[in-house]
């Protein structure tokens, strides 16, 4: 394997182009023309990856994408732990997204914390016919009675809500008034809106702007005194504890994290964020909107960072520190130095086992680019990558800061394309989601889920990097991959002479 390392860049590019031509042959003409725009071979020096993105998926091709509801309830809002998020509509959406994203938190679940509960209006036919506003009105009363410690409520719209003409905004206003200005947020994240999860992120960001920022003062619930070193973590969903293994570094360098968006986050943290001196943004895709808004409205600067792998972590710590005084800059150096022995030990242990191994990725928001550095820290080579719901600005960042010349790029990849690409390139590892995992493992290709960290993590920060390195080693060097072919399959026919 590791074919890419033994080929010249020109050979790789020629092969990748040929691969693209091959997969396009399966499509009807119209579809081939459309898909061709999403597949490319990266040319070094170009400002983007040469693919179209954030456009409608083609029917029937087996897109990996989800919907706006998944982007809002599943990603942005769901982790806010002290609010209740109603999956408003039929039962399925909330059921399939119930507890599956591993947004870690601490709290008394069911009493003052609600992340891993599934609240739904469980629409029946009569709700479709007569509308659901009355039902959700009553539902809010029942929530208030049975879950009195909830700090707020969001109404996450499923497909029917927007189609039957419900007015959840009016319900929210009315009930908020009735409950003394309680935070009740209507979110128009119906699954048919937009082309992927991405619009759901945007809608969720806008809902925070309109129904939290515009309706509360930053002092509303957090009484702390601001300091010069207050920052907010934006776009970390604390999957497997990612935000915690990030927060600890920021605090060690002397900063104070006043809010987490949104993993292990609370309404008070959202409300207090305008007090931050700097917003640091991990998942650009899902939360750039609110960062830009806070910059415009409150004058809070924001900076992107990357806490995957020691190279990017150090670079990011210094970048974040550059917004502050020498005390913080020294703090960043101190943190980098403190963790260097851990980084050295992890690298010494795992790099020899992973050096030169190739990886193909297909993930969501930031990971198709952000994790590349962590693989490179271990000597690994990302030979193909693509975004489930990226936009052109994601591909620009990818091209300008992350991928190598000749990398195969596939936007909104179809099941068919991904299988063919992996089959031909035979990387040492594929990193994608649960829907892809077993496909590639059946093919004998090691795999790690890169949405849920395959139930491991955290992968952020130095503590997370150790786990990341171990997990990649575990996947690639598992003895099981030597056993996928029965020994009698390849063996020469046994001679019966001796027995005869």
């Amino acid at each position: 394997m590791s074919r890419a390392t033994t080929e010249s860049v020109a050979e790789i590019k020629a092969r990748n182009k040929q691969l693209i031509d091959e997969v396009l042959k399966v499509y009807p003409e119209k579809t081939a023309k459309r898909r061709a725009k999403h597949l490319s071979v990266h040319e070094a020096g170009k400002s983007d990856c040469g693919v179209k993105s954030n456009i409608k998926s083609i029917p029937g091709v087996m897109t990996i994408r989800g919907c706006a509801y998944a982007g809002s309830k599943g990603v942005v809002w769901g982790p806010i732990k002290d609010m209740i998020h109603i999956s408003h509509g039929p039962v399925g959406c909330g059921q399939y997204s119930w507890g599956s994203r591993r947004n870690y938190y601490v709290g008394t679940t069911g009493i003052d914390t609600f992340v891993t509960l599934q609240f739904t209006s469980d629409f029946q036919e009569k709700d479709i016919v007569f509308g659901g506003d009355k039902k959700v009105t009553k539902l809010i009363d029942e929530l208030q009675e049975l879950f009195p410690l909830n700090r707020g409520i969001t109404i996450q719209s499923e497909c029917p809500i927007g189609l039957i003409g419900d007015d959840i905004e009016a319900v929210s206003r009315e009930k908020s008034k009735e409950y003394g200005g309680k935070t009740i947020v209507p979110v128009r994240c119906e699954g048919f809106r937009g082309v992927s999860q991405s619009l759901g992120h945007h809608i969720a960001n806008d809902a925070i702007r309109d129904w939290i920022f515009d309706k509360s003062a930053p002092e509303a619930s957090s009484k702390f005194q601001p300091t010069a070193y207050d920052v907010a973590i934006i776009g970390d969903y604390n999957i497997g504890g990612d935000a915690w293994s990030s927060r600890i570094l920021l605090e060690e360098m002397g900063l104070r994290v006043i809010a987490q968006w949104s993993g292990d986050g609370s309404l008070a943290e959202l409300e207090a964020t305008p007090k931050a001196k700097l917003n640091i943004l991990h998942c650009y895709r899902s939360m750039n909107y609110i960062s830009r808004h806070m910059e415009e409205k409150f004058g809070i600067p924001w900076c992107e960072y990357n806490f995957f792998g020691p190279s990017k972590i150090a670079e990011s710590l210094r970048k974040i520190a550059s917004f502050f005084d020498d005390k913080i800059k020294e703090g960043a150096e101190r943190v980098i130095a403190k963790y260097q022995p851990l980084v050295d030990a992890v690298t010494a242990k795992y790099r020899p086992r992973l050096d030169g191994k190739t990886v193909m990725l297909f993930v969501g928001g930031l990971r198709p680019r952000h994790v590349i550095g962590a693989y490179e820290d271990l000597g690994m080579d990302v030979v193909g990558t693509g975004y489930e719901f990226g936009h052109n600005d994601d591909y620009q960042r990818t091209a300008q800061h992350y991928v190598k010349d000749g990398t195969l790029i596939y936007d909104d990849v179809t099941g068919y394309e991904f299988e063919r690409f992996v089959e031909k390139i035979r990387p040492d590892l594929v990193g994608s989601g649960i829907k892809e995992k077993y496909v590639f493992q059946k093919m004998g290709v090691p795999f790690r889920q890169m949405h849920s960290w395959d139930y491991s993590g955290p992968y952020h920060g130095y503590d997370g990097f150790a786990i990341f390195a171990r997990d990649m080693d575990m996947a690639i060097n598992s003895p099981i991959w030597g056993k996928t072919t029965a020994p009698w399959k390849d063996a020469p026919r046994p001679s019966l002479m001796a027995a005869e």
């Binding site: 409608k56 989800g66 998944a70 959406c93 209006s121 036919e125 963790y339 851990l342």
Partner: protein
């Protein structure tokens, strides 16, 4: 620093270190605006009371932690049981991502399914173009032998007519005119995943038997001696269908398993990804019209399919997820009656072994109280088995159970002295169950993975039987039907009972007694 390269700590250990614990405590105190801990305790305690239970049971609009999914999940599950069949769900695309993830998390297997990816414009103009393009793309890319179409709630709300759309799509050349595209309307706001299973299976049979939506002559039934078998929506389909085949073969019965997804959810890792594997052949699906009878293992998964089949002059018989001695006896005797085949000695021996095992162990189960939740048939089967063991299925809750189911459950309870204090709860959810477990405690809880939250809150030990099971691996490979399947269920129950005694008696210097070596 907590992390260590030599002994890398996972999340379960890492965050319990002092540095992280201190960090989290500071975060909470300074920034989270937490409630007074005494107030949290007070509400927590209140939530365990009969008073809370009363309010909880008075809910009319709110559902919390339901134990059911939506129709198209069942549609995909059923469609995957046919030879080289690609499930195609017409509507928003996110739904399909959810069904695929959900089934893959349970079976640890790939789930192939496509969407027509409808968006705002389709909401306005209808999804005909999406269906037409989608069928053409799927047909060319994945070379299915059949595409089985279902709907999401979006397509249902806007009123897309699958019959007309598929006809028009074919006229536009998306797939050949004689290509099999059965369909079923599966609105998420009616019924649950078991309804979607039912509608889809009926849609497929109707397609083959009743003239393929007016494009072929209806099949003329020529009765034979074969038996059709329908498993229903079943998280144990892999183990169960194999067990049923073994039983049929032991009895020498000619059979057709309808919607046989036992292979596609259990493909080997040998270097090849099999997008399609096994399944009921399309020929067998068509020929199933000639069978002598159809047997459904789950009445509530086939409420429309069975009457449809009966309308084609077959005998139909349904069971409620038969488990245990008598239910399995009944199942085998029914097979025997219909086919005139004797129940072979091998199965009689298996029966004897199950009775033997129950006799050996029933002292540990007898008199124990259980709460059960899940799909209506599974609940019934489990409750009946527990009654045979002298246990009491005190609370039996099915979110997708009907009034009819409730009556049937109550009749079952009335049939046994152990059912005296037992009650069925149709249409209730796991937050209702939480109140039941606090106010009328039981010894054990049987349910799916989500029961672990109830176990944590109420301390009722959870025995994982149901769907989905996400946090334990490979249970679906073991049957829970037949005498041998019942044996598996018995062992699962017993293991938890014994583990629980050990757990409660494992404090050295305090409970050294009862920590027994022999039981």
């Amino acid at each position: 620093m907590t992390q260590n390269a030599e002994h890398i700590l996972d999340h379960s250990e890492l965050f319990r270190g002092d540095e992280y614990q201190q960090m989290l405590a500071n975060k909470k105190a300074l920034f989270e605006n937490p409630h007074d801990p005494a107030e949290v305790d007070r509400i927590g305690e209140w939530s365990k009371t009969p008073e809370y239970r009363e309010k909880n049971f008075a809910r009319e609009a709110l559902t919390v932690n339901p134990a059911k999914a939506c129709q198209p999940l069942g549609a995909v599950f059923a469609a995957l049981g046919f030879e080289r069949t690609l499930p195609f769900v017409h509507g928003s695309q996110g739904c399909v991502a959810y069904y695929r993830s959900h089934l893959s998390r349970h079976f640890k297997e790939p789930t192939s399914c496509v969407s027509s990816s409808m968006t705002e414009d389709a909401a306005v103009f209808g999804g005909l173009n999406n269906l037409t393009d989608g069928l053409a793309n799927s047909y060319n890319m994945y070379k299915p032998k059949m595409i089985a179409v279902a709907t999401t709630c979006m397509a249902e709300v806007i009123g897309d007519d699958l019959n007309a759309f598929i006809k028009t799509s074919k006229e536009k050349g998306s797939v050949p005119a004689d290509y099999d595209v059965p369909f079923a309307h599966t609105p998420a706001f009616v019924g649950s995943h078991i309804t979607g299973y039912d509608n889809t299976l009926k849609g497929i049979l109707e397609h083959f038997w009743d003239g393929k939506a007016g494009t072929a002559p209806k099949l003329q039934r020529k009765a034979n001696n074969w038996i059709n078998f329908i498993g229903g929506f079943d998280g144990y389909t892999v183990g169960n269908i194999r067990e049923i085949k073994r039983i049929f073969e032991l009895m020498g019965i000619g059979y057709t398993i309808l919607a046989d997804n036992s292979d596609v959810f259990d493909t080997p890792t040998d270097g090849e990804f099999r997008m399609y594997d096994g399944g009921t052949t399309l020929k067998d699906a068509a020929n199933a019209v000639h069978a002598k009878a159809t047997i459904s293992m789950q009445q509530y998964c086939t409420e429309k399919t069975l009457p449809f089949i009966k309308g084609h002059d077959q005998e139909v018989v349904s069971f409620n997820h038969p488990l245990g001695v008598s239910a399995t006896d009944d199942f085998l005797m029914t097979l025997s009656r219909i086919t005139n085949k004797a129940i072979p000695n091998a199965l009689e021996r298996e029966r004897g072994r199950l009775v033997d095992a129950m006799a050996d162990s029933s002292a540990h189960v007898h008199g124990k109280k259980f709460a059960i939740y899940g799909d209506p048939d599974l609940c019934y089967g489990l409750a009946a088995f527990l009654l045979e063991l002298g246990a009491e299925p005190t609370h039996v809750l099915s979110t997708n159970g009907s009034k009819g189911w409730e009556q049937k459950m109550q009749a079952l309870f009335a049939s046994s002295p152990f059912g005296k204090n037992c009650r069925a709860f149709p249409g209730k959810d796991l937050w209702h169950m939480r109140s039941l477990l606090f106010t009328e405690p039981v010894d054990f809880l049987i349910g799916n993975t989500y029961g672990k939250y109830l176990e944590r809150d109420t301390g009722t030990p959870l025995i994982r039987i149901g769907f989905p099971i996400f946090d334990r691996h490979h249970h679906h490979r073991y049957p829970v039907w037949g005498y041998q399947g019942s044996m598996n269920v018995l062992v699962k129950i017993l293991d938890k009972i014994f583990d629980e005694i050990d757990r409660k008696t494992s404090s050295v210097g305090k409970t050294d007694y009862s920590f027994d070596i022999i039981r």
